[in-house]
């Protein structure tokens, strides 16, 4: 197997006495889509925050292609190729869809400091942004403010921003949360496309079991901040311990999943 693109070593974060992520060591490889499952409060989003830099680990390390990125800011990690989409829609609400995407393209291009030339002069930025608009089928709403989009389109834009960053590691935090069943396939298709590129590493937090079944190459289970299980989807799905902690609880909070 190829060398891992992303590695966590004993990754831990404490909030006062509460250990939200406890010594999680894991390696993620290019061409592999890993689904992270676990009940609410298991530390999935916190684990993501530690990797993408919104939180800094209390101890342990994060390595990207062998380079330590543990203490870096989110922007520096983005430049190392770690990209992240958020669970709660997290856009630039008053800017148009095209502007939103172009910002992500521009961040990657390093043109953010150019002060004297109009944005329209940077045709390659607009062209790339339009490419991702088409890829996410948002072209028709390109000139609408992000805040005015229906929820499903906002989720797609969330994914478009991540794609436009062109990272090596894609992290999706419940990309279909709150989406109706008609719209979810759009987003899942996009993730499947990314997965098809074998140079990309994909991490996905997801509750919907049909999604997990369809996409996962590997599943890791977090419970109370600890890595409970890690392995092949069929193996994990059939394991008893996982059924007890995860599926049991998931049924208990089924209302959220159905939302």
């Amino acid at each position: 197997m190829t060398s891992p693109s992303l590695v966590t070593e004993d990754l831990t974060i404490r909030f006062g006495g509460h250990v939200a992520v406890n010594s999680v060591s894991c390696a993620f490889h290019p061409g592999e889509l890993t689904v992270i499952v676990g009940p609410n409060g298991a530390g999935k989003t916190t684990f993501f925050n530690l990797i993408s830099g919104q939180l800094t680990a209390t101890s342990g390390r994060v390595l990207k292609d062998g380079t330590e990125i543990t203490g870096l800011s989110p922007s520096a990690r983005a430049h190392h190729g770690v990209g992240r989409a958020f669970q709660l829609t997290n856009l630039f609400p008053q800017l148009t869809v095209l502007e939103n995407i172009r910002l992500a393209v521009q961040a990657r291009s390093g043109h953010g400091w150019r002060m004297f030339r109009p944005v329209s002069g940077f045709r390659e930025l607009t062209r790339k942004a339009e490419h991702y608009l088409e890829a996410t089928r948002l072209s028709t709403v390109a000139h609408q403010a992000a805040a005015t989009l229906p929820h499903g389109d906002q989720r797609k834009l969330e994914v478009a921003l991540l794609m436009a960053m062109e990272p090596d590691v894609y992290m999706f935090d419940e990309p279909t949360a709150g989406m109706s069943l008609d719209h979810a396939p759009d987003v899942l298709d996009l993730i499947a496309q990314i997965k098809a590129d074998t140079s990309k590493t994909v991490l996905l937090v997801e509750h919907k079991m049909e999604v997990v079944r369809a996409l996962a190459d590997r599943i890791i289970v977090l419970h109370n901040g600890e890595l409970l299980a890690d392995g092949d989807p069929t193996e994990i799905m059939s394991s008893r311990i996982v059924r007890d902690v995860y599926l049991g609880t998931a049924q208990g909070t089924g209302g959220e999943d159905a939302a």
């Binding site: 993408s52 830099g53 919104q54 800011s73 989110p74 922007s75 520096a76 983005a78 430049h79 990209g83 992240r84 958020f86 997290n90 856009l91 630039f92 609400p93 008053q94 800017l95 148009t96 095209l98 502007e99 172009r102 910002l103 992500a104 521009q106 961040a107 990657r108 043109h111 953010g112 400091w113 150019r114 002060m115 004297f116 030339r117 109009p118 944005v119 329209s120 940077f122 930025l125 607009t126 390109a142 000139h143 921003l161 960053m165």
Partner: protein, 360 residues
């Protein structure tokens, strides 16, 4: 923004025409309004458009609240004033003063920026307020250098003396164009107009550039801007420095025009409040708003009294009205106008007209 706004073109068109009209009026101000006070108002409008626009880079584009904007304006003004006083009239003190003002402004901006742009907005605002207060106190205490409360009176470069003749006819008399003497006063006004225009156009350029889009991204969603790869602290510090530099240069120009610099003209908090009102009335996050806000507030400050005096006289005999419109009550009416403006244009005049009635 080239790509957006196919939606509300009428409002945008109206605002842009108004701004173009204002620009034309300012360009021909010495010929259109041939008295000293009007020219004073026109020059003040030019300077304040730049000052308000540079403040809008912070508050409207990036979402940074600072109360230190007059401090930077003051650095530029005092830089030129002190050197013009010490070295006598000439261009060298003006240039050196401008450079010194910018240098001091940058030192303060970098220090405040790096120390405090990481903290919450409210703490940042407090720190800028504290810095501005300290500088204001220093300016009035260090009277040997700054002239204290009285300020400094000095001469501007010879070119701008009223006695300077730009063009003379055969008899050695100053040439008149449309009945306006081509003298140093005219040169001084165009110095103010052109430098203001250049600074304003530069800012228009900044906000339309990739850099400008990053500023807006930071205003809209700081965390996401960071997550997609922009170093937010660096951008915020940079725009704070940029804005301080422009305010400082505007201060230098104003000092050269006024030939007087004191706490009341260059440093006081009443100027800061004026800037805030202008940016709110005009509309945040658009350079056109700065133009409209500055023009409206300055015209109101200078002419509302006269207008009310005239109205009051015209209405003599009518009960109550002349009393209500007595010129002494101008501040009361100014307040009412502000409240109405904010009520009907919640995003400022330019902001509301250009974005349409969002959420109304």
């Amino acid at each position: 923004m080239i790509t957006s706004d196919t939606r509300h073109t009428t409002g945008t068109l109206v605002i842009k025409s108004v701004v173009a009209l204002i620009a034309a009026l300012l360009l021909f101000a010495p010929f259109l309004f041939q008295d000293v006070r009007s020219l004073e108002v026109a020059a003040r409008i030019c300077i304040f458009i730049v000052l308000v626009a540079s403040f809008d880079l912070l508050i409207g584009y990036t979402g940074i609240v600072s109360f230190a904007h007059t401090m930077f304006f003051g650095f530029g003004a005092y830089g030129a004033a002190i050197l013009l006083k010490q070295m006598g009239p000439g261009w060298t003190p003006v240039l050196l003063g401008a450079l010194a003002g910018v240098a001091v402004s940058l030192v303060f901006a970098v220090a405040i920026g790096l120390l405090s742009l990481r903290v919450k907005a409210i703490f940042f605002a407090m720190i800028t307020l504290a810095a501005a207060s300290v500088v204001l106190v220093l300016a009035s205490q260090l009277s040997q250098i700054t002239g204290g409360e009285d300020g400094i009176i000095y001469k501007s470069p010879d070119l701008f003396k009223t006695a300077t003749k730009l063009l003379t006819d055969a008899d050695g008399k100053v040439v008149r164009l449309w009945d306006v003497k081509l003298n140093g006063k005219l040169a001084a006004y165009y110095f103010v107009f052109i430098t203001s225009l250049i600074l304003f156009l530069a800012m228009l350029r900044f906000v339309g550039s990739p850099f400008g889009t990053v500023l807006k991204a930071i205003r809209e969603n700081e965390a996401r801007a960071e997550a997609i790869g922009y170093r937010v602290v660096a951008y915020r510090t940079a725009v704070f420095c940029l804005s301080a530099t422009i305010a400082s240069l505007a201060g230098t120009v104003y000092a050269v025009w006024l030939k007087y610099t004191g706490p009341d003209t260059a440093l006081s908090f009443s100027i800061m409040i004026d800037i805030l009102l202008m940016v709110v009335i005009g509309g945040m996050g658009t350079m056109w708003g700065a133009v409209i806000g500055a023009v409206l507030l300055i015209l109101a400050q200078y002419y509302l009294r006269d207008l009310m005096g005239a109205a009051s006289e015209a209405l003599t005999g009518v009960p109550l009205l002349p009393e209500l419109l007595a010129p002494d009550r101008w501040l009361f009416w100014l307040g009412i106008i502000f409240i109405l403006l904010v009520y009907f244009f919640p995003r400022g005049i330019a902001g509301t007209m250009m974005t349409g009635r969002k959420g109304a």
